[in-house]
């Protein structure tokens, strides 16, 4: 067929050549109404209508369309200008190598794109000041491993719910737990596997793990009757056995719900390295006010998880839902950061600020960072004590290594050396650190103030406690954190009236100020 005899059906229908069948149908119907002989007496319209029918018949038949498209490409292809709105932009061959050398910026703030890891460090000062002891030094580090080569589909989850059913859970705690899970469990898919372990002084597997059994788990939870004392080891051991046998591609996630303490907590803490080695992620949820903060903190942070204080059901549900979404897309299941410090430096505090919060106990030189979704990074705030006086031409060297464990068993490892010169007092006199460092340390200081207030109370110094809380309320207000400032003022009133804080008040102060460490956008949904 020659080019001039060729009828462009796509042009006739006003469609691009990659139009779908629906598009073709729709276009035909619209145009048919215009040109149908019964509706349009114009003889040209009749001819047009005939062609429209022919176009539709050809293009809706797979074989005929394939043949037609071949002809079309041959005759029309070179002159085709697709409607830019619909078309893919032309792929422009662009050389891989940069056209000019990258601009250098001061080493302190330039992100280093070495070996595909994204690592960025910001410091409170260009370096520690000579010969001053004691001295504080802050560093804010961001780490992100190489992105996965292809966008991977969401992963099915393997959730092991470990739920306290001891007598104390009766009433409000169990009610809150049920409400949270009744909001979250229905969002699980038929591929997600859920197991339910209930414990008092024994552990019982109420619902064995099976894909798509989230609705069953919810039913069983609704019928649960609290009874008995509390031991943590049996359910955790049982959970670990279940998680060991999970399908390898699922992320092992243990959700631990309790409202109290158990005498075997020290045994659990000793056993934690086992869970760590198996990369089991533990998120701990404390219901009510009697649970042991230090213990749940250790339980969660040793695996890179997070502790959530639940005192109102709606907060817990949002946080859990958000976490579910993140974990499905996680491309790193577990990661560990370890470091070597010179003798002149001691780590005073180490806090994970992103993607979620973790307060690590001091005294170790390895921490678990937790899973990562594409687009996220780990952000760590370090607070160091300089404990030996440093001479001027000295340099402090630190080495840290992250090991990121991927679902398929590979480990990506990245070592980064930090180095800072020792500087003079003059060098730092008018130095202002980067905004992010100031912001992070400020949030840490808020958390510290309420810690000091509570400590003062334990030492029976309510006036001192008031002083700290007052300062905290003042700074929160100035920073625009109105809600938390209000919470602090409420507790301040309680303190003034009763010279003590309620147990709930203490938890609200602790976890409320912790929450403020999260970046603002994430904080809206988190507890």
């Amino acid at each position: 067929m020659s080019a001039k005899d060729f009828i462009d059906f796509y042009e006739l229908l006003g469609l691009p050549p990659n139009a779908s069948r629906e598009d073709i149908e729709r276009a035909f119907r619209t145009l048919a109404r215009q040109y149908h002989p019964d509706l349009n007496p114009d003889p040209e319209a009749q001819e047009r209508f005939r062609l429209l029918v022919q176009a539709r018949e050809t293009l809706l038949d797979t074989k005929r369309r394939a043949l037609y498209d071949q002809q079309w490409r041959h005759i029309r292809g070179r002159t085709f200008h697709p409607a830019p709105d619909q078309a893919e932009e032309p792929t422009i061959p662009i050389p891989e190598a940069p056209e000019a050398p990258a601009k250098t910026t001061t080493p302190e703030t330039a992100p280093i794109l070495e070996q595909e890891w994204y690592v960025e460090t910001l410091y409170s000062r260009p370096g520690p000041v000579e010969n001053r002891v004691p001295q504080r030094f802050y560093a804010l580090t961001r780490w992100r491993p190489p992105a996965p080569p292809t966008r991977e589909p969401d992963r099915p989850l393997f959730l092991c719910l470990v739920v306290d059913r001891s007598t104390s859970m009766q009433g409000r705690s169990l009610q809150i737990l049920r409400r949270i899970l009744s909001q979250v469990l229905p969002t699980l898919s038929h591929q997600d596997i859920v197991a339910l372990i209930a414990f008092d002084d024994r552990a019982e597997l109420l619902v064995p793990p099976r894909p798509g059994n989230a609705p069953l788990v919810l039913q069983v939870l609704m019928r649960l009757r609290p009874q008995g004392a509390t031991e943590f080891m049996p359910p955790l051991r049982m959970a670990r056995e279940l998680l060991e046998r999970r399908p390898r591609s699922t992320l092992p996630w243990l959700l631990f719900f309790t409202d109290g303490r158990a005498y075997d907590q020290p045994v659990v803490l000793e056993w934690l390295p086992t869970l760590q080695k198996e990369h089991i992620l533990i998120d701990a949820f404390g219901l009510g006010t009697e649970w042991d903060e230090a213990f749940l903190e250790r339980l969660a942070t040793s695996t890179g998880g997070t502790v959530t204080y639940i005192h109102a059901y709606d907060e817990g549900a949002k946080a859990l839902q958000e976490r579910l979404v993140r974990l499905r897309r996680a491309y790193v299941f577990a990661a560990f950061l370890e470091w070597e410090l010179p003798p002149e430096i001691q780590v005073r505090t180490i806090v994970r600020m992103a993607p979620d919060i973790g307060y690590y106990p001091s005294g170790h030189n390895t921490i678990a960072l937790g899973p990562l979704m594409p687009g996220e990074w780990w952000q760590i705030l370090w607070e160091w004590d300089i404990v030996h006086p440093l001479p001027l031409h000295h340099r402090i060297h630190l080495r840290s290594t992250i090991r990121a464990h991927l679902p398929d068993g590979r480990v990506w490892s990245h070592t980064r050396d930090f180095e800072r010169p020792v500087v003079t007092a003059e060098d730092v006199r008018s130095y202002t650190p980067a905004r992010e460092v100031i912001d992070a340390v400020q949030r840490l200081s808020w958390h510290r103030l309420q810690e000091k207030a509570r400590k003062a109370l334990r030492e029976r110094r309510p006036r001192k406690a008031q002083h700290y809380l007052q300062a905290l309320a003042h700074h929160l207000t100035r920073a625009g954190e109105i809600q938390m400032a209000e919470t602090v003022r409420q507790e301040l009133n309680v303190l003034r009236d009763r010279a003590t804080l309620t147990a709930e008040g203490e938890k609200r102060l602790e976890y409320g100020t912790r929450r403020l460490l999260l970046p603002i956008l994430r904080r809206r949904n988190a507890v």
Binding site: D85, T91, P98, R132, Y138, P374, R435, V441, K452, L472
Partner: protein, 148 residues
């Protein structure tokens, strides 16, 4: 300094906030939590200029109505020849954070995104310096931080 200027408590060298009263020991911008970050994006070839006030998110792409991203204002570059310059429908995301930092993220575009000759990895927010030359495919934009 060895005492806090607000409460006179002794302070350790290197502290950024007093541990007794929480007062800042380094200059803290008063409006750190108010949003007054302004940046300017110019299309070099056409001299068109957009002023962006943060915090916020802007999706750079082409084709009205075919591209969107939740929470982001769409900037349609097709009037500037985006299609022939190889700009994808959802090419890159420019974000200004509440803390006052600007980031550019390539959204896995067909022809790539460059900042000052560094090619961005897809989905990795890249902090923008105060002045930067951004390239989306073949289209060159100039980024300039105006204030604060």
């Amino acid at each position: 300094m060895s005492v806090c200027p607000h409460c006179q408590a002794p302070v350790v060298e290197g502290l950024l906030f007093c541990e007794e009263c929480g007062g800042p020991l380094v200059p803290v911008v008063e409006d750190m939590y108010t949003t007054s970050f302004t940046g300017q994006l110019s299309v070099l070839a056409s001299r068109a200029t957009l002023t962006l006030e943060g915090p916020g998110r802007w999706l750079l792409g082409r084709g009205r109505g075919t591209a969107s991203l939740q929470g982001a204002t769409f900037i349609d570059l097709s009037p500037y020849g985006a299609y022939m310059e190889g700009v994808s429908r959802r090419h890159a995301l420019l974000e200004i954070s509440p803390e006052g930092r600007a980031y550019l993220t390539d959204l896995d575009s067909s022809n790539g995104t460059w900042v000052d000759h560094i090619r961005l990895q897809p989905h990795r927010p890249f902090p923008l310096p105060a002045t930067a030359r951004i390239r989306l495919g073949r289209m060159v934009l100039q980024w300039q931080h105006l204030s604060p």
